[in-house]
């Protein structure tokens, strides 16, 4: 880049072009939504099958699949950190949001267990899924995630009318609409943007 004097018009063009270059640098967030989306979706369907269809007592054991998600997230996070040479505010906010969400899920599970609420917990979880994707959609400027968050909130209220077993299916639907479908759409958008 030359160091000669340049006009105010060229200054503005340069600023615009540099800012748009940082936009191309957004990291791929859809992979986390896909992994966590599919894992929890399979877990909800699996738990429903084990409990409702097979009447297996320890149906909740299916949630051990969360361990795969945690290991994957740590591994992928470290890999992304090595690759990324500019840390954007979006990435910073996203990692804080989802770390906070993870802790909140843990705290919520503790509260539910301690209070002995047992079977009435899924509406709270579905509500939390909605919060995570609604805020993420805003950070990433991606409407399908915002819509997915709203759908999850509606399903959270709706799930209070059905039994525990069917709450699992509504939770799976919430995951489908707020994580999985928007994640595939996000992946497609990023692919087009990076071309």
């Amino acid at each position: 880049m030359a160091e000669e004097k340049f006009s105010p018009e060229q200054s503005l063009q340069l600023i615009q072009s540099m800012i748009s270059r940082t936009k191309q640098n957004m990291s791929d967030n859809s992979i986390y939504f896909l992994i966590w989306g599919w894992l929890t979706f399979i877990a909800f369907i699996g738990q429903f099958m084990l409990k409702h269809v097979l009447q297996y007592e320890k149906h909740y054991m299916v949630w051990l699949v969360v361990i795969i998600g945690i290991i994957f997230s740590i591994y992928q996070g470290k890999k992304d950190e090595k690759k990324v040479r500019a840390k954007s505010w979006v990435d910073e906010n996203m990692s804080h949001l989802w770390l906070g969400m993870g802790i909140s899920f843990f705290v919520l599970s503790m509260i539910i267990t301690r209070m002995g609420w047992g079977t009435e917990m899924y509406p709270f979880f579905i509500m939390m899924y909605g919060l995570g994707t609604f805020v993420s959609g805003n950070f990433l400027q991606f409407r399908p995630l915002i819509t997915g968050g709203i759908i999850a909130w509606v399903l959270a209220i709706g799930s209070t009318w059905v039994s525990y077993d069917y709450q699992m299916l509504l939770a799976a639907a919430a995951i489908l609409f707020s994580y999985i479908i928007p994640a595939y759409m996000l992946r497609r958008r990023d692919k087009i943007n990076n071309q």
């Binding site: 880049m1 160091e3 340069l14 090595k82």
Partner: protein, 96 residues
């Protein structure tokens, strides 16, 4: 009345660096070099000037045994950039 444009920012490479840093939390030297297409020597000199003006912070560290230079815009740098853009707009008559 037209105000003089900040001479620290009214230079192609320094303005490019500040424009890149304004939209990220922090960036590596290699990232700035790639986006500006500048030579390492020239970029180092301009980064040093921005640092001396207090517009950016520069941290040198090691990552996986390789030296790494991280640049980050300071609050003073943000103010200077905003002022620069405002002056540009008033010069070009684009502000309302």
């Amino acid at each position: 009345m037209f105000k003089d444009l900040d001479p620290i920012l009214h230079s192609q490479l320094r303005l490019a660096v500040i424009s890149l840093l304004i939209s990220v939390k922090e960036a590596e030297f290699t990232f700035l070099r790639e986006k500006t297409n500048a030579t390492a020597g020239n970029l180092s000199v301009q980064i040093q000037k921005l640092k001396e003006a207090g517009y950016i912070d520069v941290v040198k560290q090691f990552k996986d045994n390789y030296p790494q230079t991280i640049c980050k815009i300071t609050p003073l740098g943000i103010t200077a950039f905003e002022e620069y853009v405002k002056n540009l707009q008033s010069y070009l008559g684009t502000n309302t």
